[in-house]
């Protein structure tokens, strides 16, 4: 559920990057931070352990379109992928509006991808949410690895729900399909919000995006 602040006329959407450890969630969000103009984004907050792993979450706020006088903001979060940090993942998932599932394409990591996806479903279920309701996309990361699993198998494992999700072959270190995946999920989130609240759609022009409130 987005947070609507009537005083400051803001709607905040929460997008969570979910996936197994070392799949490239932080790299993805760091790339997004590096590419977005400073005027649209805030600082990238990254709480990492001494072992260079995400401890709590990475956070990146981004300004987006204006919907009926309300400026929308996207808050991008990542979760720690390590199995032991499940409580943290549950906390970060609270009130999530959209999910980008970052899967590791390496053969040896595929089992972890499946486990992480199940964990995502389980954690959503605990919050009375489901992937049937929440917009999500799949980002098959590390496609440049020589030992990457075929996409057909990844699709069989992860994109076999009744509602087919959009999936992207990505290379987060180089930025391939990183923005495409994020754009897809944000569009789904915005469309869902507009549909549910019977709002007028913003004009699909670049000006409406660039315009800041």
């Amino acid at each position: 559920m987005p947070i609507i602040n009537y005083a400051s006329k803001e709607i905040q959407f929460k997008i969570v990057y979910y996936g197994p450890a070392l799949s490239g969630k932080t790299t993805t969000i760091a790339y997004i931070h590096s590419r977005l103009p400073a005027a649209f984004r805030g600082d990238l907050v990254s709480l990492a352990t001494a072992a260079d792993r995400t401890l709590f979450f990475d956070f990146l706020p981004v300004d987006a379109v204006i919907l009926q006088g309300f400026k929308t903001k996207f808050q991008l979060y990542t979760v720690p992928g390590q199995v032991v940090y499940n409580t943290t993942r549950q906390l970060v998932l609270r009130s999530v509006d959209g999910v980008v599932f970052v899967a590791d394409s390496h053969w040896d990591k595929i089992h972890e991808d499946v486990e992480s996806f199940r964990n995502l479903e389980e954690n959503l279920r605990k919050q009375h949410l489901s992937l049937d309701e929440i917009p999500y996309v799949l980002q098959y990361n590390k496609r440049d690895l020589p030992d990457a699993a075929p996409v057909s198998y990844l699709e069989f494992l992860l994109n076999n729900r009744r509602r087919r999700a959009r999936s992207y072959e990505a290379i987060a270190t180089r930025g391939r399909s990183v923005f495409a995946a994020l754009d897809a999920v944000t569009q789904s989130v915005l469309n869902k919000f507009i549909q549910e609240n019977h709002l007028l759609r913003p004009k699909p022009s670049t000006e409406s995006v660039v315009q800041r409130a």
Binding site: I32, A50, D63, V114, F156, R164, I171, T173, P204
Partner: protein
């Protein structure tokens, strides 16, 4: 006399207790009213038994109902599983997921976890996902069912699993409940589907249930599905899958390794056949393991003698990559009832522009190829001699194409016989690795590698012997760097000859520190780090930086 007086007093008490039970849900006001002599006939006493499970209190809607409430009697214990005849499930499952020839007795009962069922007590039916059936009885499936598969089938509850007609009224008012009394909210898709049985059915014997089961909406299936008969769709599904033996041997734990692992692993054409049903049940998890005894059975006789017969119960991992080489690809097709992606109206977001830019950029960049092997790397010289300027390095990552053009301009006659790394003038792609917006050049890259967690200092050496970084910090001279480089190269080649693949790091330890050498061709990084393994991700990052620098 004393016995009769005691008996009468006990009888009075029990009557009082029963009255108390009947008025368990009465409000205080009704209790107050019940004190009036007029209401004494309908007085409902508080419950006799304590509520041990929250929400388990027996509800009585009205005093009249309370008066006619069923007495506490024997209740059937709720089992954790529900037994369903295999025949019932087979008739409901679409033929494309079930095996054509099934040797199992169709009357055999499959135990399905009760918590995985959505039991509709009003209609005495239950819904279960294909994945749950697959987990309970994988033998009947011809294709693996992913745990995320949400296809469901609905079947009539067998007679022995139906609650008695008298029981159903006292459980709950919700039409869809699990046996534990939890309300299971139906998904929108499920709510759209009407129940296949419109009215409550009386208990029937299992044999009659088979003919009653209704088909679920979805994939068509023949009127009478043969159980254990001929192939349904005409195409023969192979029963085994052929897997190369080499990768399996390489993955074996040390205790199970054969006497000559390398010879066996590199033996050309050495394969084993594994039963498909064993693979199918696990393929959806992304990991496949088999008992060592099964592996031994599958081995050819000449290879089997090399293995010790110890610890046959140990689980052996079979690389999924090898399985999929021979695996029928038809079985990995997406589910038939999957809804396609929704076409949404486009809304421009701050991410639309960069997404388009990236798409265009990668449309022009040739496909990334597998990193070349040692010795085939290219030019590093120019990198050292002409470090990129700030303006050059701050260009977007997309400008990689000119490099290829420059290479083409060089006449073949002028090219050196040994391929050398081509100059990578653009380091902006490395900004995401170092989490910085700063414009990078080689000197800064080396400096930032030295700042990785656990790394004390770093040095980059090129094919021509030139160095970037601070060799003094590492306590190395140019000759010692050359020695380390050639040593790593030699070790790498020998290890590769042993069949262990390309080596990426060699670590040497002395005093209290470790020095690790990462090489790519004749170039590489030397890093000094604390006397402990690399912290997670650091080694991978250095490899990534090196591969970027060396092209």
């Amino acid at each position: 006399m004393s016995f009769f007086s005691w008996f009468r007093s006990k009888s009075d008490k029990s009557e009082h207790d029963e009255l108390e039970l009947k008025s368990s849900n009465e409000s205080p006001e009704s209790h107050a009213g019940a004190e009036h002599p007029l209401f004494q006939s309908t007085r409902v006493p508080p419950p006799r038994l304590r509520e041990t499970v929250p929400g388990s209190r027996i509800k009585s809607a009205s005093p009249a109902e309370a008066g006619s409430a069923p007495k506490e009697g024997f209740r059937r214990p709720v089992r954790a599983t529900v037994d369903v005849p295999l025949q019932v499930l087979l008739l409901q499952l679409p033929p494309e997921v079930t095996k054509p020839n099934i040797d199992i007795d169709p009357k055999r009962r499959v135990q399905i976890p009760r918590k995985s069922l959505q039991i509709d007590e009003a209609h005495q039916t239950a819904k279960v996902t294909f994945a749950t059936i697959f987990a309970s009885c994988p033998e009947i499936f011809s294709v693996p069912i992913a745990p995320l598969d949400q296809r469901t089938l609905e079947f009539n509850l067998p007679a022995w699993e139906r609650p008695p007609l008298g029981d159903s009224g006292e459980q709950t008012t919700s039409p869809t409940t699990t046996a534990h009394g939890e309300s299971t909210a139906l998904t929108p898709a499920e709510t759209r589907e009407p129940a296949t049985v419109s009215d409550r059915l009386p208990p029937l014997p299992a044999e009659q249930l088979v003919s009653e089961t209704q088909p679920i909406p979805g994939p068509e299936k023949p009127d009478k599905a043969p159980l254990g008969g001929a192939a349904r769709n005409g195409s023969e599904v192979p029963k085994t899958v052929r897997v190369a033996l080499g990768p399996i041997i390489k993955n074996l734990p040390p205790g199970l390794q054969p006497s000559e692992p390398n010879a066996l692993a590199n033996k050309p054409g050495a394969t084993i056949e594994l039963p498909l049903e064993l693979i199918n049940s696990q393929l959806a998890n992304g990991r496949v393991t088999i008992p060592f005894s099964t592996l031994l059975k599958s081995l050819p006789e000449d290879i089997k003698s090399h293995f010790l017969q110890a610890d046959t119960a140990a689980e052996v991992a079979i690389p999924v990559k090898e399985i999929l080489q021979d695996y029928p690809q038809d079985l990995l097709r997406p589910r038939a009832d999957q809804e396609p992606e929704e076409a949404l109206p486009a809304i421009a977001t701050p991410f639309t522009g960069p997404a388009k830019e990236d798409t265009e950029r990668f449309a022009h960049v040739p496909e990334e190829k597998e990193p070349e092997k040692v010795g085939s790397d290219s030019h590093q010289l120019e990198l050292i001699e002409h470090p990129p300027t700030v303006s050059e390095s701050s260009q977007p990552v997309s400008q990689e194409a000119p490099l290829a053009e420059e290479k083409q301009e060089t006449p073949l006659s002028e090219q050196k016989p040994t391929a050398e790394p081509k100059p990578a003038r653009n380091f902006s792609a490395l900004q995401s690795i170092f989490l910085t917006d700063e414009a990078l050049d080689l000197n800064k890259v080396v400096q930032k590698v030295g700042e990785f967690a656990g790394i004390n200092s770093a040095l980059f050496f090129a094919a021509d012997g030139s160095l970037e970084g601070e060799p003094e910090k590492l306590g190395l001279t140019q000759s010692s760097v050359q020695l380390l480089s050639s040593l790593t190269h030699e070790v790498g080649q020998r290890v590769e000859n042993l069949g262990f693949g390309q080596i990426e790091t060699v670590t040497l330890g002395w005093k209290r520190e470790l020095v690790s050498v990462f090489t790519r061709g004749e170039s590489g990084f030397i890093v000094r780090h604390e006397k402990r393994p690399f912290k997670p991700g650091v080694r991978e990052k250095i490899c990534l930086v090196l591969s970027h620098i060396c092209g």
